[in-house]
Each structure stands twice: as structure tokens, then as C-alpha cells.
């Protein structure tokens, strides 16, 4: 069992949990992910590592409620425990590997975080600060009330820009537009990391390709085992088929086929919708959705 030591609601639908998982905490690096499973009936949910404490043996995860499983997860509290919590999985971010430090130091790096993607950007920026590397961070969100991690990020980022789609806080516009505005002011970057919803990463990549900034994205396809044995998470990168769980999750954003990745992420949309309805409506759900045939 993997006890939840702390739970915090970061915004309307975004939750943070600190989980005791000594083996994961001992070896994980920014960019890697874990898979969590609530209980016997639960599914395996991949989540990027958002922070870790090697001494305490803890790992921090942040998730957004998007379906039945994450709703069920959000109902857990400090003192509860997960049946399974496995990792670290995937490759660490290339920026956060000691051997690459000399190369990384030469780069002028900008991070663009979208929504819940802010959380996995944090450990990378933190690691870089600890290694004396300056960063510019743009956090984009739909509106002020779903923006989180502002203070935490301010502690580690050299420059922090906030952008909201509705203009309720900071720059009025999305992360892409904020990057364009900085570029227009004469700021220059030679490396970009974008983490957020696939549609956001796609648009960042379209812009950075135009601006000539090499861009790394962290992909979040459907996963099952997370160890390379099933290919559920496969993506086309350049001309090759890659498994995000072992080859990634970070890839050259200019080579990723986002349209296909987005189509694949909708694979279980109907099943997910049904599961969520069933959870929300409980015994009162009798097929009102017109799809599932009620309790059959």
C-alpha cells in the first residue's frame, strides 16, 4: 500500500497528493511518470511526477478530474492509500540529466505550461534552478480561478509570465500568444518545453516551428501497463512509431503527429462518459444518456 500523506485542492478540478513511495522517490527524475491504481477494481492511471523528496521517500502528483477514475481518486484523502503506485517510468527530461548539464547551460530555455501541465513543468524548472540554470516560464490557463502553483513557480523560475484566456489575470491571451508577445518585445529563446493539453502543445509547436525554436513536448496518450508491453500509447514521431511510455513521454514536438495522437486519445470516449455518468448518478442512472442501456 502507498499512503497518501497530504491532499490539497489546487483549483476547481485540480488536486495535489503527496504519496509515500520510497522506491519511486529514490530514483525518479523530472520528466518521468508514475502509474497509480486506486484499488482492486481500479484502472492504471499514468501521471507525470510533479515533485519528490528523496529523504522523506515521497512523490507529489497533480491530477485533474476528467472521468470516473480521477473523480474516484479525488474522493480519497490524507490517511487513505493507493493499492499500487509504480515508477519511475519513461525517460527523464533531457534537460534534467547531470551528463547533459554543460549543453543545457548554453541554452536559453522557455517553458510553456498549460492548465494541469503546470505541475510537471515545476520539477524541471526547480531542477534547473538547483543546477544554476535560468529559465523563463509561461503559465497559461483558461481563467484566474484555475491557475495554480504561481507562488511555487515564482520561487524557481527566473522570469514568470501568467496568461489567461479571458484576461482575468496577467496577460490576456493563451500561452502561445504570450510567447509571441515576448518574442515581439525582442526576447529570444533557443529551447522550448511545452506541457499541457495536446491541442495546446500542437499550437505551441506550430508557432515555435515558425520562430525556429526547437521544442520538446510531454505526450499523454492512453496507457495500460506503462512498461512497453502493449503499445496502447503508440504515437507517430517523424516516420517512426514510438511507445510514449518507454521512448518518451518527451518528444521533439515538431515531429509529433498531433492530429493522430488526439484522435487516439478519444478512443474510449464513450466508455469514459458512461463510467462517469454511472459514478455521478449512482443508482439513479438508468440509461438517460441514451447510450448505455442503464444497469444492464
Amino acid at each position: 500500500m502507498y499512503p497518501i500523506l497530504k491532499k490539497e485542492k489546487l483549483s476547481d478540478k485540480i488536486f495535489l497528493m503527496v504519496v509515500k513511495a520510497p522506491r519511486v522517490a529514490a530514483g525518479c527524475l523530472p520528466g518521468q511518470f508514475i502509474i497509480v491504481k486506486i484499488d482492486e477494481e481500479g484502472e492504471r492511471i499514468p501521471l507525470t511526477i510533479c515533485d519528490y523528496d528523496r529523504n522523506e521517500g515521497t512523490v507529489t502528483i497533480v491530477f485533474q478530474t476528467v472521468g470516473a477514475s480521477t473523480e474516484r481518486m479525488a474522493a480519497l484523502n490524507a490517511g487513505d492509500a493507493f493499492d499500487d503506485f509504480v515508477g519511475p517510468l519513461g525517460q527523464p527530461s533531457e534537460l534534467c540529466i547531470e551528463e547533459n548539464l554543460e549543453e543545457t547551460k548554453k541554452k536559453n530555455i522557455v517553458f510553456i505550461a498549460g492548465g494541469v501541465g503546470t505541475a510537471p513543468v515545476y520539477p524541471q524548472v526547480k531542477w534547473l534552478k538547483e543546477h544554476g540554470i535560468n529559465t523563463t516560464v509561461i503559465i497559461g490557463a483558461r481563467s484566474k480561478d484555475i491557475l495554480f502553483y504561481e507562488e511555487e513557480m515564482r520561487q524557481v523560475a527566473t522570469e514568470l509570465y501568467l496568461a489567461t484566456d479571458d484576461g482575468s489575470y496577467g496577460f490576456h491571451g493563451n500561452g502561445c500568444q504570450q510567447l509571441q508577445a515576448l518574442w515581439d518585445e525582442g526576447k529570444r529563446f533557443d529551447h522550448c518545453v511545452a506541457i499541457g493539453p495536446m491541442i495546446m502543445m500542437k499550437f505551441v509547436c506550430l508557432l515555435t516551428k515558425e520562430l525556429g525554436i526547437p521544442t520538446v513536448v510531454s505526450m499523454n496518450p492512453i496507457m495500460v501497463d506503462g512498461t512497453g508491453m502493449c503499445g496502447a500509447c503508440r504515437l507517430v514521431v517523424g516516420d517512426e512509431v514510438k511507445f510514449a511510455c518507454v521512448d518518451g513521454p518527451e518528444f521533439d514536438g515538431h515531429l509529433v503527429d498531433f492530429d493522430q495522437a488526439m484522435a487516439r486519445s478519444k478512443q474510449y470516449k464513450t466508455e469514459e462518459g458512461r463510467a462517469l455518468l454511472k459514478l455521478q448518478e449512482g443508482d439513479t442512472h438508468h440509461g438517460g444518456c441514451g447510450n448505455c442501456g442503464g444497469d444492464e
Binding site: R23, E41, L89, V224, T227, M229, C230, A232, V241, V246
Partner: protein, 461 residues
Amino acid sequence: MADMMVRVPISEQDPKVRATNFDEVCLGYTEEEAVAEAARCLNCKNPMCVGGCPVSINIPAFIEQVKERNFEKAYEIISESSALPAVCGRVCPQESQCEGKCIRGIKGEAVAIGKLERFVADWARENGIKPKNTSTPNGHKVAVIGSGPSGLTAAGDLAKLGYDVTVFEALHEMGGVLVYGIPEFRLPKDKVVKAEVENVKGLGVKFEKNVIIGRSITIDELIEKEGFEAVFIGSGAGLPMFMHIPGEQANGVFSANEFLTRNNLMKAFKEGYDTPIARGKKVVVVGGGNVAMDAARTALRLGAEVHVVYRRSEAELPARAEEVHHAKEEGVIFDLLQNPVEILVNEEGSVRGCKIIKMELGEPDASGRRRPVEIPGSEYEIECDTVIMSLGTSPNPLISSTTAGLETNKKGCLIATEDGATTKTGVYAGGDAVTGAATVILAMGAGKTAAAAIDEYFKNK
């Protein structure tokens, strides 16, 4: 007097009924049936059957005990050689192993050795009989990577020799392919697999789940930081192959590993479990091995019309004869001498069909099987909403790529001697990680051999 030339028939669920449920197909022998079948054994002085068994179970001796109704004694004899008799009795390809060598099989039907082994193991479980460990601990720590058939066998044998054994498993359940690959209707998970893992635990073996060697910790760290003096790698061959044809990334195309993992390990077929699975209306399974049969019969039970598309003919189907027979009885359709050349995709990015080309058999290839050759212009389209690729698997490179001095061949298989010694001192390997995808019993044989070799290694150290 019964006809001694034919085996005592075994009861099975009716095909029409079982095609709609996940309960075990074969119901097993009753005591009376088992005793009657045991009486057909000639108790050969020079038993050929034993030579056909990769773990050399003393077959005539255990069958003799069944005949005498000493079922507990029969279980003890099997347990000397095998850690997983309830599994092997169910999934071994006996026709090409022990039963293939049985003298009775020359003029009549071979003794049903597998069914008798299964009977004994099931009887022992139902009567609370467990294998015993009478060794004294020798204080040496051995790590076993992977809890599949080879790892469980090596761990059990090493524990019986007095070693302090810890098994590390990447998934959240122990058993490897026994839990994620082979479906419930062939191998019940809670009843059989869990019980056999518990038996290995009962020998003193420790198990740690959710540990991915190469990510959570490396083999070098296990040796340097956690005090393990030897390692057995039984990590299998879990990396799925795809065809690299157009349309393969479409929604509705799955590796058999994904489809079976969702169903078997995550129990997607069961009410109340969170993991979804594609319940297709019309499913094409590509391939002809046991995994293809498992995927096809699973899709059928989830409500689909199922076509197995295989590029060779019936005679070359690599699956067990019993599984092909069962699949046909249940209504799986075999489209033989055919091969997909393209997956057809609709506007939403989902599978709408398959373009398939017909084949004929040409000259034998390097493996001795006649090579399938495409018949030009024979393409046709079949409608379907799901395609399951069951083309085989290869070893995952995670362990070899993170362990200094551990070498692999061109196919990614670990290089090991016949005793299982790898290119790294103190590190042994066996099963699919060395051979590529093979059978449960061969993996168990490899685990057994490597355990003996590890014991030798400590004696000579």
C-alpha cells in the same frame, strides 16, 4: 471393461454456453475418471514421457499413485519437479511433449498426462495440501526478476535449496503471462494462479510488486546496495510486434497484449472494474499462435463475430490443437492463407475494415515451414471495427540496456549458456527473455536449470 486404447473423456462446458462466459472451458476429471485414466498407464520401465517433459516430472510414479488413490503422494512426486502443476496441466502443449512420447499413443490415444497432473494439483489445492520446504536457510540472497513461469520456478527451487529469495515484479499482480496473457476460461486467476503463487510464497519466497528493474532500481544497484549475491532474470518477451502496414495507428487496432491485458489483468470483462475494453461487433485477429486463439476467443465472449486471419494453412497453425478445436467449436471463423495489407480507416480515425490478400504456400523457408506467397490481384475487403495484432513478441530492452555487461543478440534476447549463465558474472537468465516467445513449460524448465546453476555458482564461489 473400458476400451484401454482410448482415453477417459473429460467434461467441458457446452460450446454454445461457454462462448458467452469467461468460466473455465475444461471441467477436469472426477476422482473416478482420474483413477480410470491412470489405469491406462503401462508404467514403462524406460518411460519416454519423462524425457518429453521439460522439467522431467516422474510421470509413471505419480500416475501409479493416482491409480492407488494416493493423491497426496502423487502431488508430492509432482512437486519435486514442478512448482506450477495446476498451471502446466492446463496450458502445456502436451501433444508435442510428454503425451507425444507416450507408448499408448502409437496404437491408440496417449495417456492424458496433463489432465491427470491437473487433477492431482486441483485435488491438493481443494484439500489444503501444500508443497513443503525442509531446507535450512543458507543466508545467501538471490534476486529473481519477473514473476512469470520461469521466475516462479527458479524462486521455488532456490528457496528449497535454502536461499533467501526475493521476486521483483513490474506489474501489480504476480504471474506474468499467467495473469495478463492467458484468459480466465483457460486458466482461472484467483482459483489457480493465485493459489500457485501462494504455494511459492509458502516456501519462503518474498515478493515485491510494482518494481521495474531498469527504472525503479537497476540490477547493479540490487547487487551493490541491497546485498543480492546472484540474480535470475525471467523478464519474458513482452514487447509486441506490429505489421507496419497503412492504417495501423487507427482507433480499434490493438496489440494482443493490450487487448488481453485489459481483459485478463484489469478484468475489463467483469462488472464493476474501471478499465474499458473495445467490445467490437466484428473483429479480425491477425496471427495463428496461442495468443491469437486467446484473443479471438476473448473477443467472441465480449460479443463479436471473430475472424482469425492467418497467412499459412491449418497444418502450420502454431497454436495448440486443443485451442484451435475449442475456438472452432465456439464459432471463431478461420480465414486461412490470407494476410492483411492495409487497415481501412473512416473519417473519425477508426477502423472500418481490412484489405486482405490471399496467399499460397511456396518453398520451405529457413524454419522448415513452407513460405506463404501472395497471389497477385487477389485482394478483397472485409468490414470490421476491431483488429487485434497477434504477430508475436520480443524481449523488452529495458533490463539489458540498463545493466552494464549484459549482452543481447540481434533479436534482443539475452545471451545465456544452456545453464542460464549470462555474460555477467552471477547473473543468470531463462525463459522468453533468452529464447524469445515460447511456452510456459519451457520457461519453467529454464528456471529450474538456472536455479541449479546458481546453486553451483555459490558452491564454487
